[in-house]
C-alpha cells in the first residue's frame, strides 16, 4: 500500500544539538513533499516543501530537508535546536493526482 512512514515516534535532543527526523514514502513516482510542524494546541505550520530541482531544500526556522530518490526519503534536519523547537513534526506527500497524505508524526522533546 502507498504510505508515508515516520519511523521515530519520539525523539529527545539536547538544546544546541543537531536534529534529524526521518521520512520515507512508498509511491511509484516522486510525489510533492512537505514538512509541517505543530506546536502544542496549534495548527500545522509549513516548514518547507519540495516539488523539483535542488534536492536540498531550505525552510523556515533554520530547518532544511534533503530529498533522496534512491532511498525514497525526505529527512528533515536542523544543526542546532532551540527549546522552542519542541513540537510535533509531520511529513506529508502529495502523489501526482492524489491528495495530501500525512505520516503519523514525530514528537520532539528538547532538554536543557
Amino acid at each position: 500500500a502507498q504510505s508515508v512512514t515516520q519511523p521515530d515516534i519520539h525523539i529527545t535532543v539536547s538544546e544546541g544539538a543537531s536534529l534529524e527526523l526521518r521520512c520515507n514514502y512508498s509511491y511509484g513516482a516522486t510525489p510533492y513533499l512537505f514538512w509541517y510542524v505543530q506546536s502544542p494546541g496549534q495548527g500545522l505550520q509549513l516548514l518547507l516543501k519540495y516539488f523539483s530541482g535542488d534536492t536540498l531544500v531550505q525552510g523556515i526556522k533554520g530547518f532544511e530537508a534533503e530529498f533522496k530518490r534512491s532511498q525514497s526519503s525526505f529527512n528533515l534536519r536542523k544543526p542546532s535546536v532551540h527549546w522552542s523547537d519542541a513540537a510535533e513534526y509531520f511529513c506529508a506527500v502529495v502523489p501526482l493526482g492524489h491528495k495530501l497524505s500525512f505520516g503519523a508524526g514525530t514528537t520532539v522533546t528538547v532538554r536543557a
Binding site: G41, Q42, G43, L44, Q45, F90, K99, G105
Partner: protein, 116 residues
C-alpha cells in the same frame, strides 16, 4: 496576510449531541479542506471543496458528518449526532490552486472536540 481562521477553538459535548465548526480560509484561496486529527495520528482528509463544490468527500462519514461552503468562502462542518470516537482536532486548510498541482495547504489553529 491573515491566516486561516477557525472557531470555536475548543468544544466539549456529550455523545449524541450535535456540534458545528466554522472556517474562514485565506482570502482568495479557492480550495478548502477539512481534516480530522485523532490524538497520536496525522491529519486525515474529510472533505475538499473547490470554490463551493465538493471535490472529494470519500472519507467523510456521511451518516453523521456534513459540510458546506455555500458562497465559496466560509465553510461549516457539522457532526450530528456525535460519537465518542469523534473526539479529535478538526483542522481547516486552504490553498490557492486546485488539487494535484503544486499547491501548498495552509492550516488554521484547529478546533479541539471532546465528546463525553
Amino acid at each position: 496576510e491573515a491566516g486561516v481562521a477557525q472557531s470555536p477553538r475548543y468544544k466539549i459535548i456529550e455523545k449524541r449531541q450535535s456540534v458545528a465548526f466554522w472556517c474562514n480560509p485565506i482570502s482568495g484561496h479557492a480550495t478548502l479542506y477539512w481534516y480530522q486529527q485523532i490524538l497520536g495520528q496525522g491529519p486525515k482528509l474529510l472533505i475538499q471543496f473547490q470554490n463551493n463544490g465538493v471535490v472529494d468527500d470519500s472519507q467523510l462519514p456521511k451518516d453523521r458528518f456534513s459540510a458546506e461552503r455555500l458562497k465559496g468562502v466560509d465553510s461549516t462542518l457539522k457532526i450530528q449526532p456525535a460519537k465518542l470516537e469523534d473526539s479529535a482536532v478538526y483542522l481547516c486548510a486552504s490553498s490557492p490552486r486546485t488539487s494535484g498541482g503544486e499547491e501548498t495547504q495552509y492550516f488554521g489553529p484547529g478546533t479541539r472536540l471532546l465528546v463525553l
